[in-house]
Amino acid sequence: LGGSGGGDDEVHFITDYYNDSWEPLWGDLESEFEDETDTSLNIEEGGMSGTQEGRLAQLIQAGEPPDANTSTFDQVADIWETGQLETVNDVVSSIEEVNGEINTEAFLGEGDDIYQIPHGLYVSNFQYRADIYEQLGLDEPETFQDVLDNAQVIDESDEVDARGYGLAGMPTGKSQDEFLVLLSSAGVSGIGLRWSDPDAREELEVYFPEEEVTMVLQYMKDLAEYSPDPTSIGWAESLSQWVQGQYAQCYHLNAWPVGVTALTAEAQDNDALRGLAEATQVRAYPTWGEIDKDDNWLSAPAPDGYHVFSNGTNTAGAKEWFEWLYADSMERTVSFYEADPGRFLPTYSDVLGSDAFQNQDIFQAHPHLLEKLEYCQNEIWGNHYGSVDEANISSPESLYMQRQWFYGEMVNRVVTESMTIQEAYEWGRGELEDAFAAAQEQFG
């Protein structure tokens, strides 16, 4: 590589792995890497959902895409489909040598080509406040109805301030995710598609059964009664509201709320928050009444990681950067999970069990957090995902469907009562069919 540095040769990297702890970490890594390799880096904060896409759009339309970015794979499906991504098999394999094999079957590319350098996985689950449960004598819920009943008890109790449930109703990522997971937990393919022939696995068809969908929507609408304003809850808000103790139950990912609470507790040296982190329990999301966990259509956790653009100005530099980041040592790899504890399950099989990982300061202070992560990996992922074989519909079309936002919109319309459940269902079905037709046209 030319050591000219700066200008067009720099590696432009946009990331939403960005918070108070990531920021200094990136800063250190950046200068270290630049010193070692003479390649200059430009790390840009991507911002939460919406802003990063906006930024990407600008850069791509301007003909100068970044060299790399972070996101879940479905969010770059369009970019991938139009051939703008670079395969990263070589990088991934050198990382695997240090950190262990990739432990997911999620869609990272077609055939032997991998287009994502994975960082972590998102396992969906249910979280609740054990202290409140105890105070009110509640039991762990098994079904949707239990969740709802608990929510009502909590909400109506004068003893606790917290609301019964934190339901995401902002028409963006979290409400969409929550809806899809609930649908799976009701025994229906989350994305509204299924193989027309489960054995052949060649062709997808729309599958959006009215009974289940309206039931899930009704459930969300009922939950909204016990939730703070759902329309103001998305990923970021849900975390800060959890820290503020605004509700006692919610849908979430891995041990993210525990991690954020623990981190805040340490930063502020606050015992009440430590208690809250301790009291936050994680378990698989309850199912619809008669659905057994083996009928759960959850297939694979969502993979999050890095993508390298084939038409960036310094693709090679980007690859070098990620290799340097992850394939250097387990210690360095672990430091990335440290910055955002509880948010990700490592995608590499050796990481979670490694000493480096387990010895992080935050886990010393909050052994509970490590426990929860392990629980996510072993119990929830292990026992609740992939139970239904045909639920794995990984394909370009399903990827495309992942980033259609109409599910979130549908939830929003229901909880805000802009539509009756029936209307919302029909509207959503219409959108689904349109989107599927578009997906088939694009990928078929």
């Binding site: 108070d20 920021e23 930024r55 759009a57 600008q58 100068e64 800060s240 503020q244």
Partner: protein, 290 residues
């Protein structure tokens, strides 16, 4: 008196009673304006001085000694926050200066020089305001990149100046028309060149219009979110509005009281501006006709 007696005040009141009623209404209105107009500013001020945990928990109306604190303002010492505010100040000043200079010159040209189509000029400029800036992110990004100003504060200053411009030019044009041409002619007679007379005679007299245009530019620059977001992507050059949003997204926990403290800091300069400049400002806005 005879039939020529006037019919009296509003609602058949006598003129004196009418005056009394109006005085009463005026008092009442003042009270409402104080309440409604000053209330949000009061509210953010009092929250900024209240202990952040209390703010999260309860509705308080005044930072009584028990909950009063200055700690919220420590957020201002946060290097990022500080950078955002510093950038905003730089951009605001830069925008004001650019707008004032460019609009003065253009306003002078329109007011004093004869050239074709100048009557339509300002109206065409105002058409630009009809276009919603929502989708212009991509073209703007491309233009600014191609002129090499992307990511620089100068680039943002130019963009903000450009959107303030139609209004500022119009204002300056109409204002300069109210200054007697004789003043410049007197300077020419004294031997001053056109440029010199502009500088020595016109500009000093334009003070109210300059302040009015500056205010308009300031309001835009201080408020701007869209352009800063597009043109200043990196953290060290970003300005307040996108910066605070970024900070809110980044820190999973940023108490409202901190936000209010930052907001208060951003509210003070406009307040001072409005307090000390209002008489000039109002004079500047007295120009009429589009």
């Amino acid at each position: 008196m005879s039939q020529s007696e006037p019919p009296g005040g509003v609602f058949g009141l006598s003129y004196d009673d009418e005056t009394r009623v109006i005085e009463l209404l005026k008092l009442l209105s003042t009270a409402i304006i104080v309440l409604v107009g000053a209330w949000p500013i009061y509210w953010l001020t009092q929250l900024a001085f209240t202990d952040y945990e209390t703010v999260e928990d309860a509705i308080t109306y005044f930072p009584t000694p028990g909950i009063f604190t200055l700690d919220n303002f420590t957020v201002l010492t946060d290097p990022e926050m500080y950078t955002y505010m510093f950038n905003t100040v730089v951009v605001a000043i830069g925008t004001i200066v650019t707008v004032v200079i460019v609009s003065l010159i253009a306003g002078y040209g329109l007011a004093r020089l004869e050239f074709p189509h100048k009557e339509n000029f300002a109206r065409i400029l105002l058409v630009g305001y009809l276009f919603s800036p929502i989708v212009i992110g991509i073209p703007l990004y491309q233009i600014w990149r191609s002129i090499g100003l992307l990511g620089t504060r100068v680039g943002l200053i130019i963009a903000l100046s450009a959107i303030s411009m139609p209004f500022a030019v119009w204002l300056m044009w109409k204002y300069i028309m109210t200054i007697p041409e004789a003043h410049e002619e007197a300077a020419w007679v004294d031997g001053a060149s056109r440029w010199r007379s502009f500088r020595d005679v016109v500009v000093p007299q334009c003070r109210p219009a300059i302040i009015a245009a500056a205010l308009f530019a300031f309001a835009l620059a201080w408020n701007d979110f869209t352009f800063a977001q597009i043109l200043l992507p990196s953290t060290d050059t970003t300005t307040f509005a996108p910066g605070i949003l970024r900070a809110m997204g980044q820190a999973q926990f940023l108490p409202d009281a901190y936000l209010m403290a930052v907001s208060l800091a951003m509210t003070l300069p406009p307040l001072l501006f409005a307090y000390f400049m209002q008489s000039y400002l109002l004079k500047g806005f007295q120009v009429r006709a589009l």
